[in-house]
Symmetry: none
Subunit: 249 residues, 2 copies
Amino acid sequence: MLKRERQAYIVHQVNLHNKVLSNTLSSEIDVSEDTIRRDLQELDEKGKLIKVHGGALSHAFHDITYPSKKIYSQDSKKIIGEKAARLIKDGMFVLTGGGTTIIEMARSLPANLSATLISGSIPAVVEYMHHPMIEVIVIGDKLSKNSKITLGTHAIAKINTFKPDLCFLGINAIDLKYGVTDSDWDVVQIKQAMIEASQKVICLTISEKINTIQPVKVCNLNKIDILITELPKEHPLLQPYAEAGITVM
Amino acid sequence: MLKRERQAYIVHQVNLHNKVLSNTLSSEIDVSEDTIRRDLQELDEKGKLIKVHGGALSHAFHDITYPSKKIYSQDSKKIIGEKAARLIKDGMFVLTGGGTTIIEMARSLPANLSATLISGSIPAVVEYMHHPMIEVIVIGDKLSKNSKITLGTHAIAKINTFKPDLCFLGINAIDLKYGVTDSDWDVVQIKQAMIEASQKVICLTISEKINTIQPVKVCNLNKIDILITELPKEHPLLQPYAEAGITVM
DNA sequence: TGAAATTTTGCCGCTTTTTGCATTTTAATC
DNA sequence: GATTAAAATGCAAAAAGCGGCAAAATTTCA
């Protein structure tokens, strides 16, 4: 990786997450921490970020009085996104839906990951587009302004032409009895096509949507391979799902 | 391999992968690294790429990661965008390419316009998506990180299923004798498909690209219906094109 | 066509940049 | 205040850049 390329990536990460850790960057980009430190120093001098102990902060967080506290705190969707991103390995074909949780996953993809991501979600595509090594395939069709994903028969037909390794879905409701449910019929058609096409289905959701129901059914629990929430996998709320045969993370 | 040929190859590689390494190019093309370095230097001076230690990066990459950089001749492009936007009427089906000029047009679309816009350009789609009344159809395929548009046979096939009223293209070079030319072969394939599919072709360009030539041919002048620049239509630079049968605006 | 002029290319020695490692110094945490 | 992690410092190896030069290739022009 070229020096400029590396520094550009660091700036990008800082702008996305408002913080970066030296050791994380070091292992992601696979250079020594000394190099990262020198990069952060240069970027600080250029005013691209603010260097602090252990990493760097974005200018947006300039007025934070205790940056070290901010550096280690993360919200639920970031945690989910990071857990999810770890499942993607080099060379994989990955189908993803839309939604804020998926965006967080996209932002957590390590710099050295080289995979092919397929999506009809415009915000997700924009994120993937910024990644240095990821190949992006866009699912085309009519764009829904609400969900910001492409919807329709062409999109479904296109999804069916792939056989991706993984499928990541942000879900709106999951229940032991009723399975995964959602509110928008058209979006559900896409999700069903994605589930059927993929070898492994991974659902992402914040814990407050667990044990809730929405009007339109997406699929039964047995279609889901992995469920990711911000909770630790031992949490009692998740146990019934584990017992139902889903890998909880 | 001729020098021109070699440099064209390098530009293509940069556009394709967003970066090139000197030593890779050297062994690929089988010339010394000194020659590659001189090539990169020349191409940098011509603005085709950005030379860095160990290789070169594409301009698009630089734009993405250093958004502070001001878009070149923004004001001219705004004028062009406004002229172009006035051509779109309620109920029309409009096909558009990518590029900064098209983005300016997208931003100039009046809020009460209700039309259907079709595009494979992610930045353009993002703009259309924010418009209250416009229907957006996304052309899907593999996403080129350099041009930020979808490229490939699927995209071309999809374009051919439409018969839009208008087609807006941002062009990189136009000349009386050689017609419209461009630098990237894959992008040209898409542009040609768009031109053939559409009932009316409108080309947008800043005046400094008039009477310039790029290596890959897009189409002859007779395919173009309207040419829009930031200049007034009476400007002498535009007269030869008006005489060639093109409506200049 | 063929010779001169020009451009292009590869090589050489030398300088600069980049990077990782070892060591010392500084800062953070409990 | 002891322990630990990160920063700064110095250093050396490797890689890349640079200017000059001469051979090779290409173009120009008589």
